[in-house]
């Protein structure tokens, strides 16, 4: 009886266990890993991807995905810098609005015009990248704002970086939306069986547009968080973000086939990825090799996901 429960814990919490194992090893090999500074650094890195990861989780539960999140994030950063002349608040609001509109358009393409999400969001990715290049005139642009810096580098109670607080708040809020609201549960139904969901009167198109718009909104928010630390934008930023977010969410066990998963699980996956990235840096793995490893990891994770889906659906 006890053994069974133990096995169940291992099965359900395997990501957390892996994170703990990696952390233990690193703590021994590279003691700097467990310094507060490094741990909060990990959490900061993870906060950007997990804010976007919330949107990606909504999409994947509804059996869609979005390849334009990286470009959309940089798009928000760019808009915020360019519009800061008209006030910080206005710049931020305009940036988040712009990203939300981009996400909304993705939703319209997928849900209303029935273009598959791969083509829609790939086009949006290219489109936004072009737009950023046009807006920045192919330069790296920068803009400073003390208020934003004090957010990016400030700490709540002097310990927890504000971006981490923001990410945590958003994670909790949208975890509740997904698990405890009619809207969230309907999204699961859509991902599980779109045709049937439509038949039972669920507004499938509306939900999909909502999920894409939410993803756009969150890309905007993370673009602002990025700006609060980096203070600059260019067309070359954010290229790896797609990979990190999709890998992380998949790693957390959110299936590409939809209908399953939770924000909490997705966050675990993203955290694991963050810890791994940090570990690679501490172990002096070159950035190029990191890219290779991340790519291979995504391939492995999707293989496992598909293998399980195939085993479950063998008919």
């Amino acid at each position: 009886m006890n053994g069974r429960r133990f096995r169940a814990i291992i099965r359900d919490q395997k990501i957390l266990l892996i994170i703990l194992a990696i952390a233990l090893v690193l703590a021994v090999v590279r003691p700097v890993f467990i310094s507060a500074e490094n741990l909060f650094n990990i959490l900061f890195q993870v906060s950007i991807t997990s804010i976007i990861g919330i949107g990606m989780t909504f999409l994947m539960i509804g059996a869609d995905f979005d390849l334009s999140v990286g470009s959309n994030m940089v798009f928000a950063t760019t808009v915020a810098i360019l519009l800061q002349g008209s006030g910080l608040g206005a710049g931020i609001a305009a940036a988040i609005l712009a990203s939300t509109v981009a996400g909304f358009l993705n939703g319209v393409f997928v849900a209303k015009l029935r273009i598959n999400s791969f083509i829609s969001t790939l086009s949006m990715m290219i489109f936004l990248r072009g737009l950023v290049l046009i807006l920045t005139n192919k330069q790296t642009i920068s803009g400073s704002s003390d208020a934003l810096f004090s957010f990016g580098y400030g700490n709540l109670f002097g310990v927890i970086p504000y971006p981490v607080v923001l990410a945590a708040a958003l994670l909790v809020l949208f975890a509740l939306v997904l698990a405890r609201t009619v809207l969230g549960r309907n999204l699961y139904a859509v991902g599980c069986n779109e045709k049937a969901a439509r038949m039972f009167g669920i507004d499938v198109a509306g939900l999909k547009i909502f999920a894409f718009s939410l993803t756009g909104f969150l890309c905007g928010a993370s673009g602002i968080v990025l700006l609060s630390r980096l203070n600059s934008a260019s067309g070359t930023y954010g290229i790896d973000t797609n990979l990190d977010v999709i890998s992380g969410v998949l790693l957390g066990g959110i299936s590409l086939s939809g209908g399953e998963g939770s924000i909490f699980k997705a966050f675990q996956g993203i955290l694991l990825l963050g810890v791994l990235s940090n570990a690679m840096i501490l172990l002096h793995v070159t950035p190029y090799l990191q890219q290779v490893i991340k790519g291979l990891m995504l391939m492995t994770v999707v293989s496992l996901d598909s293998y399980q889906a195939k085993a479950a659906a063998f008919r």
Binding site: V182, A189, M199, G201, I202
Partner: protein, 504 residues
């Protein structure tokens, strides 16, 4: 008098492309009545009900509910009128809980919060509905943790949880065993008590005679009669369905050829136990039983389409194994899958390209395909099974269902197989094409091809086969040959087996 009927459908017409599916059908339903619709595949049963549910628009006719004309154009129109259908496959959410399935699209909200889900209320109300049907199912369980039968009963609960007045069940028992069917019938009785009317579509005559208050028979898209229970004999219904008196198939005296193929100890965990049989040259071997008996899985396992364990398989005296369809093809064994659209037809391609699929294998080693030879070989095979088409270069979607099925037979025959496995060869085929397909199967056997077949309709197997293996619960319970092969004998055997199971 006229005010009594809950539902009246009048002169309902529907055509698909050029095919008439319904030619002016009338159908009435009284409150609290179980009204069965029976008919062969393609008779129009499902089309009529899909019109009532707003899945298809009708081309002509009228629908009256309590005497008032209504317009049903979308599924939600039907739902608003309290008309609900239990769909066979695509309507449930396997990864969600029972409660979420029951209240899908109508999840209860908490007062005060705009979108908050009231999960306590959800569970309570689900438990209440399940209680009304006396179903011992946990509302919080994931749907895919239940048996198929329980999932189907959840569908009934789902319908009942809305303002249900008319429940349509389409082949509801097709994947249930006898005891599960009994539970479903008990549930239907519970619905009747609540004054809910049930339309029951089935081709299982026996159960229809047991539970229906009235029986309507459809044939070729027309209503050929509505009969109150107890006023009609089974044979009369069959006659109405088929439009002729059933001829007792003449069994030829068996001069059995040599054994060409044998299987010893075919097992699929939990589904088929230790099935063995031999197949003779030029013989039609039927494998039959009720749904869930394992007959279809056995055939799939045999051909490497379901994980199975086989102790020994021999083809022409040599030990062989089939772990993938291509192994079967190499042995000269071809296979017709049970689902035409999902498992057999390649949409977007031409008839020729569809027909030559297996033939391609024979030229795979030569790599370059001769267009001329492909066309000749396809045409020859397509003509042999009499596919009616504008030309072999037309898209395959231009063929009617029956002609597509014949085209699929042409595909199998194009490689001159020694053994042909037919899994439900007449599913979704009109009556005319059915007869043609039977003729093709007879002709093949006469030419020395050995055939293994199964069917969702037991009479079809007994009419065609020289020898029949009867299965129940994954076991072979009997083997009948020649004159013993009758529908009555098979039914008696499976009923006995089920009864024995009940008590033992």
């Amino acid at each position: 008098m006229a005010g009594e009927a809950l539902l009246r459908m009048r002169e309902v017409r529907k055509t698909f492309g050029g095919t008439v599916a319904l030619s002016g059908v009338d159908f009435d339903l009284n409150p609290g009545e179980v009204h069965a619709i029976i008919g062969e595949n393609g008779a129009g049963k499902s089309t009529l009900m899909k019109i009532l549910c707003g899945v298809y628009p009708m081309d002509g006719g009228s629908i009256l509910v309590e005497g008032e004309p209504v317009r049903i154009q979308l599924p939600k129109d039907a739902l608003a009128l309290g008309i609900n259908m239990i769909h066979q496959e695509f309507a449930n959410f396997s990864k969600l809980s029972v409660a979420e399935n029951v209240f899908v699209g109508r999840l209860p909200r908490k007062a005060g919060f705009p979108l908050a889900l009231d999960s306590r209320d959800l569970l309570l109300r689900t438990a209440e509905v399940l209680g009304r049907l006396r179903l011992p199912i946990d509302p919080g369980a994931r749907l895919d943790s239940l048996s198929v039968a329980q999932q189907q009963l959840v569908e009934v609960a789902k319908a009942l949880s809305a303002n249900l007045r008319i429940l349509i069940m389409d082949e509801a028992t097709s994947s249930l065993n006898l005891r599960e069917s009994e539970q479903l019938f008990a549930t239907i009785e519970a619905l009747k008590v609540e004054g809910i009317s049930v339309v029951y579509i089935s081709h299982r005559l026996k159960e229809v005679m047991d539970i229906a208050d009235r029986i309507t028979v459809l044939r070729d898209g027309a209503n050929v009669g509505t009969f109150p229970r107890g006023h009609i004999e089974e044979a009369a219904i069959i006659e109405a369905m088929l439009g002729r008196r059933l001829r007792a198939a003449v069994k030829k005296a068996a001069t059995r050829g040599p054994t060409v193929f044998s299987v010893t100890g075919l097992s699929i965990p939990g589904k088929v136990r230790n099935l063995s049989f031999e197949l003779h040259r030029g013989e039609i071997l039927g494998i039959t039983g009720l749904s869930g008996s394992g007959k279809e899985l056995a055939i799939r396992g045999l051909y490497g389409l379901w994980p199975s364990r086989i102790e020994r398989m021999e083809c022409n005296g040599e030990q062989v194994s089939i772990s993938h369809p291509s192994d079967g093809l190499s042995l000269g064994i071809t296979y017709l899958a049970e689902e035409r659209k999902n498992m057999s037809v390649f949409p977007q391609l031409t008839i020729r390209e569809n027909a030559s699929v297996l033939w391609m294998r024979s030229v795979w080693r030569r790599f370059v395909v001769s267009r001329r030879r492909e066309r000749e070989a396809s045409l020859q095979s397509l003509r042999r099974v009499n596919v009616k088409m504008a030309g072999a270069e037309s898209p395959v979607d231009s063929l009617s269902g029956g002609n597509q099925q014949k085209m699929l037979l042409a595909r199998l025959l194009m490689v001159q197989p020694e053994i042909v496995i037919l899994n439900d060869p007449t599913r979704g085929v009109d009556v005319g094409s059915k007869q043609e397909i039977y003729q093709i199967i007879y002709q093949l056997a006469r030419e020395g091809v050995s055939i293994i077949m199964t069917s969702s309709e037991i009479p079809e197997v007994t009419a065609l086969a020289d020898r029949v293996i009867v299965m129940s619960k994954g076991h072979k319970i009997a083997e009948l040959s020649d004159a013993e092969v009758t529908t009555d004998n098979v039914l008696a055997l499976v009923t006995q087996a089920a009864a024995a199971d009940e008590h033992g």
